[in-house]
């Protein structure tokens, strides 16, 4: 020990050594499994990965599979609607609270409460509520409003919107909490300036305060975006991909082929496409945030 000076342990060289475990995890666990997945997607593997080259056969089959195309489309529809609705609703709720309404603490808790439920619970409850023979529709029909319809979850055309509804209900509170925290951090002087200039309050939010909160907004969108990519448990609990394949999502497609259908090759191809899609989506953002400034 005496030979090792404090310097080499704790100065830059030492810091690099301390980071080695993290690098091993990143390289081995993350990059290693990514490379492995891409490699397996080029093989004819079934239950067990086998290393013989099959070219792009898995990809060709993947894009001929109607269910895969449906699931990708669903993810796009779900992603756009869910993120947009949760952002708008969450921001409006935050602004409402920011106006210092009465009983703010209670309202804030109520808004944030759904986020404390798991996607599984959310999915099951909304499925019951929207089931025409159990939930809101039946209650209304029994009360005498016989033409009332609220059966999105069993309608193949509308079931994906039912999933969006449940997801927004669950996650809007998170956006509210993030944005509210941001709003509370806005300098009082900014508001004084807005008031002095006689700018309407709504204009002050839209043009001045919310742009200041851009980092908070980006964080919220990223968190919601991660929710979209792993939108597996909500769909499984609520519709299990049904009716038919109407609410299938890529994550569920991959899980089915990986485990139930023992087709590791096709599942890996689907996972690779997902990886590429996510990379394509975040690449411009990484470029804008980290690279352009240098």
């Amino acid at each position: 020990m005496a030979v090792l000076s404090r310097r080499s342990l704790f100065r830059p060289g030492g810091a690099a050594v301390a980071l080695w475990p993290a690098w091993i995890i990143v390289l081995g666990a993350y990059l290693g499994t990514m490379v492995w997945t891409v490699a397996v997607s080029l093989t004819p593997s079934k239950l067990v990965p086998v290393m013989s080259f099959a070219g792009t056969a898995q990809y060709e089959r993947l894009f001929r599979t109607a269910r895969w195309l449906t699931s990708v489309e669903n993810m796009l529809v779900f992603g756009v609607l869910f993120i947009a609705a949760a952002m708008v609703l969450g921001t409006l709720m935050a602004i409402a609270l920011d106006r210092k309404i009465a009983a703010e603490g209670v309202v804030r808790t109520v808004y944030l409460y759904p986020y404390s439920l798991s996607f599984i619970v959310t999915g099951v409850v909304w499925q019951w509520m929207m089931n025409p023979t159990l939930g809101i529709q039946k209650t209304m029909n029994d009360l005498g409003w016989t033409s009332f319809r609220f059966d999105w979850v069993v309608d193949p055309e509308r079931a994906i919107y039912a999933v969006v509804l449940a997801a927004v209900w669950q996650s809007a509170g998170l956006v509210m909490a993030l944005v509210l925290a941001g709003l509370r951090g806005v300098d009082e002087d900014l508001w004084k300036a807005i008031r002095v200039d006689g700018i309407p309050i709504w204009r002050g939010y839209v043009s001045i305060v919310l742009p200041v909160l851009r980092p908070v907004m980006v964080t919220a969108v990223v968190l919601l975006g991660i929710g979209v990519v792993r939108s597996y448990d909500l769909v499984v609990a609520m519709t299990n991909g049904g009716p038919g394949t109407a609410t299938d999502v890529p994550a569920k497609f991959i899980m089915d082929f990986l485990f139930v259908r023992s087709n590791v090759g096709l599942a890996s191809a689907a996972a690779t496409v997902m990886l590429a899609a996510v990379a394509a989506a975040i690449a411009p953002w990484i470029y804008a945030v980290y690279l352009r400034r240098r």
């Binding site: 025409p132 299990n240 009716p243 038919g244 394949t245 139930v260 259908r261 023992s262």
Partner: protein, 410 residues
């Protein structure tokens, strides 16, 4: 957690005892965790321990996780002594790669070829060798009928398929849900071949599912079947999508619905509700005495890497004993896999299934036995899509099935 602790303690205890007495201990991985399944499993553990073995239970709840765990433990090289699978192509990959123990010696000694239904014997064989032992035989194409609901509507089951829809019309008019259906993809796949069996289309089923013959999709028989399959959606209630199979069974038990197509595991629900077959409800395998029987089975494989000859002998002797299989299946709801078992003590539905099993041409291998999991899944996607898309025509359905068969051709 508790289970893991118990296992840990059991393992530790066995380690201590190993020096003293050479107990034949076997670790068995399975997914039988529901009430009736766990009770049935006790028959095996009891018999195994009575014969001097030590059973180390390794239950993985949920079939999908169990298959994943089983596969990785076999490939990882340190598998349990026995693992549960479904009969059929599921473990063919593992057999092909040499991971599974060859049971042909036991099969010959126990005369399995004669004792098992031919479709089941084929299902546990790969390349002329036997790799798994089947412990039960589940009929997948039962129709469960509430007698009171039928009597109240003044209808009886028809003698042939032609009378089926008129009967459903009368039930509908009487204000009963004619058919209780759980709208999950796997249940719709079941309904697909259940209706084929009741229509007498087993040749069509064999052509599509077993042989993967796309020309069968061009036939008028297929078009007629697809039309009837679509028509059946009119007799199902609006709340079906996403419903669990046992919730649908409860609708029949309560009389809210008149009947349900479902495998013999539904019997457990009737038994639990205290209903008696032949009095409160009927179990039917076909109209007019054409009782087709679609086979599915649970099997155990013995991995090559876990070679412990004594434990293996005892496991096979226990699980393949006709008496143990009968006792097991009385609780599990299925039939013994062995046709030479004495089922005279079992209930009326089991007797009926057993009688149907005596006619080889009416024994139909289930999809899991007949085709790869990949192909069954692709067919399931096409079926559930057709069932749930009113605008899809029989021709669209045929095209979707053709795609499914072509994409999963080996």
């Amino acid at each position: 957690m508790k289970k893991r602790m118990t296992r840990l303690l059991a393992t530790a205890a066995c380690g201590l005892l190993a020096g003293a007495a050479q107990a034949q201990e076997a670790e068995v991985m399975h997914w039988w965790t529901s009430g009736s399944e766990a009770a049935a499993l006790q028959v095996f553990t009891g018999a195994f321990e009575a014969a001097g073995g030590t059973w180390i239970d390794n239950a993985v709840p949920d079939f999908e996780s169990a298959i994943a765990a089983a596969t990785s433990s076999i490939i990882g090289g340190n598998p349990p002594d026995a693992l549960q699978f479904n009969a059929g192509t599921q473990f063919a990959d593992l057999a092909q790669l040499g991971y599974l123990g060859d049971l042909s010696g036991y099969a010959e000694a126990g005369n399995w070829q004669k004792a098992l239904p031919p479709a089941l014997y084929d299902a546990v064989s790969y390349d002329g060798k036997v790799y798994a032992m089947p412990v039960d035989n589940h009929g997948e194409n039962w129709l469960w009928v509430n007698r009171k609901a039928m009597a109240d509507a003044g209808v009886a089951l028809p003698e042939s398929w032609e009378g089926f829809f008129p009967m459903l019309d009368k039930l509908k008019a009487a204000g009963v849900i004619p058919v209780a259906h759980g709208g999950e993809a796997w249940q719709e796949l079941e309904l697909f071949y259940q209706i084929m069996m009741f229509r007498g289309d087993d040749a069509l089923y064999r052509a599509i599912v077993v042989d993967g013959d796309t020309s069968a999709l061009e036939t008028p028989e297929f078009a007629a079947f697809a039309g009837d399959f679509r028509k059946l959606t009119d007799y199902v209630d609006a709340g079906a999508p996403g419903r669990k199979w046992n919730d649908a069974t409860q609708m029949v038990i309560s009389g809210q619905a008149a009947m349900q197509f479902m495998g013999d595991w539904a019997k457990g629900e009737f038994v639990a509700a205290g209903l008696v077959p032949g009095e409160d409800y009927d179990c039917v395998l076909g109209f007019g005495g054409e009782d087709r029987f679609v086979i599915s089975a649970d099997v155990f494989v013995l991995p090559e890497a876990a070679e412990d000859a004594a434990a293996r002998d005892l496991l096979v002797a226990t699980m393949m004993s006709p008496e143990t299989q009968v006792a097991f299946n009385e609780l599990k709801g299925g039939l013994p896999a062995r046709l030479d078992a004495d089922v005279s003590g079992m209930d009326a539905c089991a007797q009926k299934g057993y009688a149907a099993m005596q006619t080889p041409e009416f024994q139909v291998p289930g999809p899991e036995i007949s085709a790869s999991a990949d192909r069954v899944g692709a067919i399931q996607d096409a079926v559930t899509q057709y069932w749930n898309t009113p605008s899809e025509t029989p021709a669209d359905f045929a095209a979707a099935l053709r795609d499914a068969l072509e994409m999963t051709a080996e």
